[in-house]
Symmetry: C2
Subunit: 396 residues, 2 copies
Amino acid sequence: MESRFGFQIVARDGAARRGLLSTPHGEVSTPAFMCVATYGAVRGVAPDELRGLGAQILLANTYHLHERPGDDVVREQGGLAGFTGWRGPWLTDSGGYQVTSLAHRMKLSEEGITFASPLDGKRRLLTPEGAVAIQQALGPDIAMVLDECQPAEPAKSGDSAEPAESAGRRKESSERPRPDSTRMRQAMERTLRWAERCRRAHTRSDQALFGIVQGGVSLELRRESARGTVSIGFEGYAHGGLGLGETREQRGDLIEGANELLPDEAPRYLMGLGKPIDLLDGVARGVDLFDCVVPTRNGRHGLLFTSAGLLNIKNARFARDSGPIDPECDCPACQNHSRAYLRHLMKTGEALGARLASLHNLRFYLSLLEQARAAISSGNFASLHRKIEARVGCRV
Amino acid sequence: MESRFGFQIVARDGAARRGLLSTPHGEVSTPAFMCVATYGAVRGVAPDELRGLGAQILLANTYHLHERPGDDVVREQGGLAGFTGWRGPWLTDSGGYQVTSLAHRMKLSEEGITFASPLDGKRRLLTPEGAVAIQQALGPDIAMVLDECQPAEPAKSGDSAEPAESAGRRKESSERPRPDSTRMRQAMERTLRWAERCRRAHTRSDQALFGIVQGGVSLELRRESARGTVSIGFEGYAHGGLGLGETREQRGDLIEGANELLPDEAPRYLMGLGKPIDLLDGVARGVDLFDCVVPTRNGRHGLLFTSAGLLNIKNARFARDSGPIDPECDCPACQNHSRAYLRHLMKTGEALGARLASLHNLRFYLSLLEQARAAISSGNFASLHRKIEARVGCRV
């Protein structure tokens, strides 16, 4: 096992870059999509299948694993790579987003985030040092700093945040009162102070730590956040708090504005986004890593990505359709099964249906990034970007 | 594709026999366990995985497929082998048991079974001719006659039968009023009349039709049923209505008493049973085919079969157990994952947990029958039978 973390850019096409990320558990060709394995497993999908789909690195949720089975158990079992059977690279989030959006009676203070566990109702405190300690125990190749995530509604002392998994992150701007700029500045500045505490607390030399740029939809705040985060110094940098209602154009400007200030030689990660076009928009601006629950969550609901756009497999018109989901796709679902069979499985709630749909959608995302890497190498990224925009569109 | 159905006995050990069943979709080494794929899919498990586990033939439920997606859809998509992606042999039940135990307002008459569909509440009639027509459309290699299944409680006109999937079939004798012998005789005689109607209605030359021996727990009735069924003449014979509360010894006697009257050269199928020891008890008396939901249903609940007995993976003592479920097992779950990880998946409700547990339990059953076949060939079946009884026991 190598113990060093590294990132090397191997090709460029405009601001887009193709890179090679080295981690203790293997290499990752970037730009790359990280499949979400909340509890250390992608819903219904086994590690060897993920490898077959072209997955290179998985993302697990620190907060969920801290609750169950506990980071001490994961550490004892050899860390995420030993515990889960996915022996390749792992990234964990810091748990801050989950605590802010899922936990009850969440309260932010300079010390950290106090919340009531949804599991047992007990009050807990997540500090920057605690988030680092948990991630050092979980043992991913990449850990994230604890950032102050803007909750869906302005936090009031004693308020309970939204408990539902789907709440918060995807709220439309119309439902979400825009935090005032004072509050956005305070959150951004606290994130910087927490980032510094995380940096000091982090001691594992075989694990990279990424900082997170915050600042809401203010370009000025995001640029200030980027400068401050870079001055602390991390192995990589993430864009946090996006995909929360800003327009596509706004998001592009915010990413571009921060990227200009991030070191070219460090990997950049756009957290939690998004639709296929969002990924390519990010790649076009020099982002290297992505994660999103959209392919697996949509898959479980029968919404499938294809080269011709989105398809709802539960639709009656597929009842007797003996063709594959997508004739251009090489996933196991498309190779072995028809639309009619997949529709039948989804309609009857058979677990194999959600699994095949997830496999298909994950392959769509992983293949999209493979195409992006090839296009960057051949100088055709802009053409791929336009093609996907026209064929797959911007809806999810 | 061969179009002929055949059965050849290749070895004997006492009453136990090893055979080779030829079907249009491939050969099956017997004694064999048929994995249950109710809606045309084993819960969460893909066809290539089943093949890897050693599955040779699957069982689907006529009644479920008739409701969804409809037998016309399955026929149009190339029958079960074309529709599902499992290109090997299939057997379907007749739907009678499901209708009797799952449907509402079930009413038996000489014509057939009238019931209200649980899907849309509409009244439907399943006749022997209808059960054959549906199975001819579904296209399994082996179809079953419609038999009169004893419902969980004596049927009264307008009564609704138990709707829950788990109800009925596994009822203990204490919960289940014993039908009087007049009623048992009437049901057995009606089953014979229905068997004759099925035989006349069945026209597919590339599909075998099996008769079903009924008669409750009466040896006399079962022997009479066997004689009558044989005189109609089928490609194979099943023991129906067992596993409903009779003792192990009773069941053994009932199977043996009927088997003596069944033609030696035809395959024999013990329907819906059961625990590992039940299968070996059947093999010892010359049964060739088995099916049961126990491995997959137990798996979904975290109950795992091992060479040392049954194990509840959710138990706290496995939280830090880095060993495999069963060191003697060669299934993908045991090869790639620890008890600690599987317990974590089951405790958090991750779909991968139920899938790995099902894979493991199915492999246990399939391997058990592999061992039985080898033991018959080498004349050691009695020794295997005793070993499994001592190590795995008789509980489920």
